[in-house]
């Protein structure tokens, strides 16, 4: 059992981080905290990709004589793209939060919803 946990500890960290981020994105009422949650959520997936790329005893994916075992470089490249996507998502999210701040004067979801309620 301990081996089950320790041998694949990077996967456990990824699952833990992902759940932390997921919780923050869903449950936090502050919009900036939600974005931070989303960031953690996406970063956890990066860790997952980097983990699956690792080959036991593998070196850097550079051609070297006599050592054919190397780490798979493709997931790293994929994750570079995903990092760009995550950064753009954060940028768009923060831009929208600035817009919300201008229009409502707050970034607390509860207060915004109260402001949006129809008042007769």
């Amino acid at each position: 059992m301990t081996e089950f946990i320790s041998a694949k500890y990077n996967y456990w960290i990824y699952i833990f981080l992902m759940m932390v981020g997921f919780y923050a994105a869903i449950a936090k009422r502050n919009l900036v905290k939600k974005v931070i949650g989303l960031n953690i959520f996406q970063t956890a997936v990066f860790l997952f990709y980097i983990s699956i790329a690792k080959v036991k005893g593998g070196t850097e994916p550079i051609w070297m004589e006599g050592n054919p075992v190397y780490t798979n470089p493709l997931p790293h490249v994929l994750i570079l793209t995903a990092i760009v996507v995550a950064v753009s998502t954060t940028a768009v999210a923060l831009a929208i939060i600035i817009l919300i701040m201008k229009q409502f004067g707050t970034v607390e979801e509860d207060k915004i919803l109260k402001l949006l309620e129809p008042h007769d």
Binding site: A25, K34, L78, T89, V92, A95, L99
Partner: protein, 501 residues
């Protein structure tokens, strides 16, 4: 040149998206011309691709000349050729329509940026449809989504920003799930090419990793298409977005999502795996029926027309998923038809409503009294769209509902007919409320509800020609393809045969 057409379809709008805001600095109207010309070229390109596919069966384009599965492949067959035509057509129609509409609904200084983001959105959607590489699909999914969030937030109403933010949180979670699904598939197969995956996966269907991957795909894409319990982001986004954006989003965004759903389920995985491996069909059927009923019921409860149309979209997504979950030829054919048909009818409805918003700035159904006399052409188009949604014969809505009903009977699930009938009845109820107000209620000038952003004209005319023409075109197509249904039918049949193999 012609053999590079698949990549030109993506690169052209992508580069123009950068040029558009710059051109807008020289003169504002230039950016609109660019969008119209680019989307028209894309539509022409998609038609040319469709005709090539009809002749040769499929087009495989290797990016940079790298042979798949190592390089990225753009693969066009019957299925995506016809979805591509739909997306390009709607993008063109809405681009023509947008000029007048967004001038009123968006700050003037932001217009060139709006057109730039619009092209990015179209790029993303066409990329999702055209690509044969699953990671590429994720990237385009995010391009389309990020552009979509911006298009909603750009509206003047302050609710729009909040709606856009909620969409962003939900959309990002959905897309990240898709990314995880791709990671799990890559983990066991070492491939990202869809056709290659389809060959490698059957040997691994017992693997827990593959099943996990499928679960991530299913949930992630369900968020993107707003399948019922995951629909929360949709109503507010469609309601508070500018009219042109509501129209293109309702007509293409969820449809392209549904296309991606079908692609992943039937091309990457096999129908056999879905039925015998994980018994997905029953689960999906349940959610589809739930979406159809709840979408229609919630639509009946709405007083705002755009919100009503948005909830009705949730119900219609249910129809598309229903056809998929039956997993037979007729069902998938019905689903594919409904993707096109629903895009046409929801497009018509949102475009017609956009005309009302332009002239009167009202979206409350109660205020629509006497509109049939004031804006006869827009309202005629709206009525055609509404009849089609109900499923009146000679309209497109009837054709796809008919196929879905037959598919349900073929699968031996007669009780689905009751669901279909009930939802058609509910659809009739909520559209009749609008039509009744438009044509049969005398106008009461003292009761116009407040909250309209746009200044209302005291004596309205029909919408401007630039807005009216696209509305008429989609409305006419709603009837045309309802009467001459053989072209979309044969395409849908060929596509569903590829999918079921």
């Amino acid at each position: 040149m012609m053999e590079h057409l698949p990549i030109v379809m993506i690169v052209l709008p992508l580069l123009s998206a950068v040029v558009t805001p710059v051109a807008g600095r020289i003169h504002r109207v230039l950016s609109w011309y660019i969008v119209v010309i680019v989307t028209a070229l894309c539509f022409a390109g998609s038609l040319s691709l469709l005709s090539t596919v009809l002749e040769t069966g499929r087009i495989s384009y290797w990016l940079g000349g790298w042979e798949p599965p190592w390089g990225i492949e753009y693969l066009i067959d019957y299925l995506n050729a016809f979805v591509l035509c739909l997306v390009a057509f709607i993008a063109f129609i809405v681009a023509v329509y947008a000029k007048k509409s967004v001038e009123l609904e968006i700050d003037e200084a932001r217009l060139p940026l709006f057109y730039g983001v619009y092209l990015l959105f179209v790029t993303g959607l066409m990329g999702i449809v055209i690509t044969g590489d699953i990671f590429n699909l994720y990237v385009f999914l995010e391009i389309a989504s990020l552009a979509g969030y911006a298009l909603i937030a750009i509206a003047k109403r302050r609710e729009a920003a909040m709606a856009s933010f909620n969409y962003l949180v939900m959309g990002t979670i959905g897309a990240t799930f898709v990314l995880l699904g791709i990671g799990h598939l890559y983990m066991v197969t070492g491939s990202l090419n869809m056709a290659d995956l389809a060959q490698r996966l059957p040997a691994l269907y017992g693997s827990k990793v593959v099943q996990t991957a499928f679960a991530f795909f299913a949930v992630g894409l369900s968020i993107k298409i707003a399948l019922f319990p995951l629909h929360n982001w949709l109503p507010n986004s469609y309601t508070y977005a500018p009219s042109a954006v509501s129209a293109i989003m309702a007509a293409t965004a969820t449809k392209v999502g549904a296309y991606a759903f079908i692609r992943v389920m039937f091309t990457v995985f096999h129908a056999e795996f879905l039925i015998t491996g994980i018994h997905l069909n029953h689960l999906l059927l349940f959610f589809a029926a739930l979406a159809i009923l709840m979408g229609s019921i919630l639509a009946v409860a709405q007083t705002d027309i755009k919100k009503m149309l948005a909830y009705s979209s949730i119900g219609q997504i249910g129809y598309i998923i229903l056809g998929i979950s039956l997993m037979n030829l007729t069902g998938i054919q019905g689903s594919l038809l409904h993707i096109v048909n629903h895009a046409l009818m929801k497009g018509t409805l949102f475009l017609a409503v956009g005309g009302i918003v332009y002239r009167l700035g009202i979206t409350t159904i109660e205020d629509f009294k006497d509109l049939g006399r004031k804006m006869p052409v827009s309202m005629a188009a709206f009525t055609v769209g509404a009849f089609s949604m109900i499923g009146v014969p000679l309209t497109v809505g009837f054709v796809s509902k008919w196929y879905l009903a037959i598919a349900a009977l073929e699968a031996g699930m007669w009780y689905l007919i009751i669901v279909l009938m009930l939802s058609s009845l509910l659809t009739a109820v909520y559209f009749w409320r609008v039509i009744d107000n438009m044509y049969f209620q005398p106008h009461d000038a003292s009761k116009v509800s407040e909250g309209s952003v746009v200044v209302a004209e005291s004596n309205p005319k029909d919408a401007p020609v630039l807005m009216l023409l696209p509305t008429i075109v989609t409305a006419v197509l709603c009837v045309f393809f309802g009467i001459f249904a053989s072209l979309p039918l044969s395409l849908a049949e060929k596509a569903s045969m590829i999918l079921l193999r």
